[in-house]
Amino acid sequence: MRLKKILLLAGAFILSVAVFILNAATKNIDLDTSFLQHLRTLCNIFSFGAIYLYLQIVKREKQRGIVQGIGSVAVFAGIFLTIYLFISFLPWKGFETRDLTLFPRDYQTILFSSIFSIVAGIYSIVTLLYIKDLVLYKRKKATRRNFIVLIASLITASLSQLFSKPLEDSVVSGIFTGIAVLMIVTNSFRLAWIAYLPRKEKIYSLLYSLLSFFGFLVILIVFSQDAGWAEKGIHYYSPALFTFVQLTSIFGAVYFGMSFSSTLFHLPTAEAFDRKQTEISSLHNLSRLINQVFDLKDLAETATKMTTEVVQATSVWLEIIPTEGSFHKSGLMSHRNIDEQEINVLLSGGDKSVRMIVCQTKKVLMIDDMSSDKRTKHLPKLKKTSSLLIVPLLSHQNVIGILYATKEIEYGFDQDDVDILSGFADQVAIAIENARLIERSFEKERLQRELMLAQEMQKRLLPQELPVFDTVDMKAISSPALEVGGDYYDIVRINDRLVGIVIGDVSGKGVGAAFYMAEVKGIFQSLAKIFPSPSAFMIKANEALVTSIDKRSFISLIYSTIDIVTGELIVARAGHCPMLYISSTAKEYIRPQGLGLGMRTGKIFDETIEEKKIMMKSGDVCVFYTDGVTESRSSDGDEFGYERLLDVVDANKHRTAEEIKEAIIQTVWQYTDAQGYHDDLTIFVVKWN
């Protein structure tokens, strides 16, 4: 790009020098239509072509705004006029007119008219480049076409001059000049850019347009002076260039004249337009923020900042009401240009405060003059606060927050402000709801993780595998209904011969149940070895539990010790489901008396607990379980019950412990089939080989 620019400049320079040398060499010769004349014309065309390309690149690199563009035009017009004045004061002799052809009297004349012409060409090109941007702003289908026709007619009108002598009038040129002027007027109505300028830029635009307008006017006057040298100088250099510069100057004068008056008419509405622009962009920003800001504090900050911008308030604050339906607790989230103490002063007055009025009516409250309004005149007067606008943030007809804005002057807010802030408040309300929803879902996720942790913990509370003995075959399963259940089973080696088996059910479910279960596990693992007798164990376990357990909770437990050598099984029950015992001679539920653990302290529990003893023989089966088995319901709502359990175990008693366990589960699941739901379910099968 840099190289290209250098090449273009160098080309333009060399060509211009060539033209100058040609002019100097033929100082007193009328070239008319000779070869040299054509060469000069070509050099000129290529020279200005190169200048055009160079300027286009430079302009594209600079990327000026619309208003700066107009400023540049004015500056170029000014430079052009300055150079004109400067040259006017230099000593040179001017031209001699012979036979409609100009002959310079000295070489200075050739030099100055050349420089002047090149500057005129540059200034014309710059003017057209900048006006092009303005004309094509918010272009419509015909816009571009009209502009191209204008440029085409400009160039054609100029080029048609090539075939005439410098001061000769040409018909062709006249026609195209007419078309060009027509197109200049047409294009000069393209002033769409003015409406979109901010107020401040409109003022600059007004100034620059005026300067440009006068600049072009002066240039045109200079050109039209019969006594002046400007017209002759350019004419001498190239008649085509003169037409081009003249037409461009007309275009500039007309266009900036139009833009000046149009901007002037737009000025009174500029402020309103600016405000609408701010509103639109603020609302737009806010709706974008809704999807980005999840933190209520950030959201409130943004909302107050935007409110300040939109209604140009002196101070703004936002409170978010923490709990629905309760207005008594304020949740000031963000305040600008006012401190908490001042806010409290403004909102004082208990149930009659402006804040409570808004909470109750759920409507916008506007106070034009705080010192005379009956709702606020009792308040101490605050500097900077004369009018007040309060907008409730509503969600499902509930006030979830309140937005306040104040202004220094009385009657500072108008209906427009009310409308804007109402719309704004709706957006903020949605954003708050959004942020809250997300907060809640985070909370839910956290609970979920907690529950997972409890579940994990609970799984580890159950024995990972059961010990294997020659004499007894033992299998167990526990499947919680919810993520965290209340069932518990465990096994402990008391000594070489005794094994302790426990099954329990903690009332309640979830994380709480898991904690009790952990406690039971600790008690079981420590006490079972110290108190081998099941009833003694139960008494000690109750002592330990009753003080720590909630008074409406309890733990049902059934505990038995098995002598793996003799087969002696001793069982004690604390409120739990009875043990099922199936032998060759008996099938029954063994149900020693006993209260649930944690229900009652001391004596009553100790006195009522019982033990039962059986001797297991080959083929005997004992089943411990939780009420999830017997209380499973069919689709009709009937319970599985004790009979069915007894029957299924009896029917499978000749099988292994694993098979018996599977048979029970299959039968229960088939029974509950359509229900889908089942309680926690735990089964422990013991079979004497």
Binding site: G486, D505, S507, G508, K551, R552, F554, M599, I604
Partner: protein, 118 residues
Amino acid sequence: MSEFKVTIRPRDNNIHVLELKGYLDAHTTPVLEDSFQKMLNEKKYRLIVNCKELSYISSAGLGVFMAFIEDVRANNGDIKMSDMSPKVFNIFDLLGFPMLYDIVKLEEEAAGKFETAK
């Protein structure tokens, strides 16, 4: 979820009867809790819980009785239970409730067990 309802009915001798109906589990226990709480607030401590139409009670349901019995007895009152179906009685019985509470066949019988009002 099945319905659960408590109807409070005063009877002679400053006794109040709570008639339970339906399915008492973790979801419906607040209904029974509220009823007991109401009795306590009104300083009515001579209570009979009639379980004639109670079809099921879960461990959470049993917990409600345990939660209130101490307060009631501390005020020289009692919670007695009557008219249980065998199935419901079995649940109370498994946990050893009969050792802690008066559970009788008929409401009349329960009423007779209260001392005459002073």
